[in-house]
Assembly symmetry: D3
Homo-oligomer: 69 residues x 6
């Protein structure tokens, strides 16, 4: 499957916090570099996401902002 | 300045493509790992973004999806 | 590949408009019902998206709002 | 009222799950085809959204990605 | 029409810049306070948006981040 | 720090509602004009956001839609 989202960043799930509707998933994409995703609780359950999983953090390019000192 | 966006990923600007309204900025966040951002042309000019700049790719957690094989 | 995005709506590409950075893709998801996507020009070219293609319109649940009369 | 969001897809509310801050709303947009929205609990209550309601799922074009096999 | 988007901020259109796919619209929401929107060129034309128009800048709550010194 | 987000709107925190994963923050940006943000509970705690704080509501231009009567 090809996806238009330009950012597919491989990593390992470090932490999963489940809420009533949403869930927070922390993904280590490089030693000491984490990405945090908020997806629905349903998605976490449907995809069986758990600590240690190899996943991709996926982000549409229009959702990526830039900060510069 | 503290920012609520949970994802601030340091990298180096590799490429800048300017359109009439938007611009695409490619940021290398690790050897061979790139993030692509689409921000407005105005922001690229206002921030003086150019190849070689040290920047952070910034993403709100609710914009990060997960893909899993 | 499993995706956390909750909305994967099958349809057929009706129209593609290419800009300098972005591109607009119109997808018919049911007779007379269209979805419009703006993705990067690069993605359209990389994925070879053209009129007549069978695709899925993909939307994260947090990007879906509701209107009610 | 005219809206810039390009995607206004009519459907019927099938399910509402309320959390502490957010709520998940499942909308049937065609037989067997559902869209899932996550909006705030406040919006669900303010709009009186309940199962059986006729609503539109509203999505900005820049939030729509494309997947293609 | 009731909208789930929690942010509807009235203002006056100050500037419109049209690209091939997108358009940038600057809206003055208070003396000297502007909001910038990027919507599709099609939406600007469909809605007949022009300088001087009274409009609302509409933002989903999950798209609003917070910065604090 | 320079940010590509085009919308940085100063205001005062009026209300904070904490969920299991997310939190809702109401910001008064002008007398009687509020913006509502949904960010993660973690961000509210990390930034020490509380009623009375001076903050900026930050929004990427591509997340701003337009409504016009």
């Amino acid at each position: 499957m090809k996806l238009s989202a330009r950012n597919l960043i491989p990593g390992t799930v470090k932490e999963v916090t489940i809420g009533l509707v949403n869930a927070e998933v922390v993904i280590e994409i490089a030693p000491g570099v984490e990405m945090v995703s908020v997806i629905t609780k349903n998605s976490v359950e449907r995809m069986g996401i758990k600590v240690g999983d190899k996943v991709d953090a996926m982000v549409k390019a229009t959702s990526v902002m830039i900060a510069k000192d």
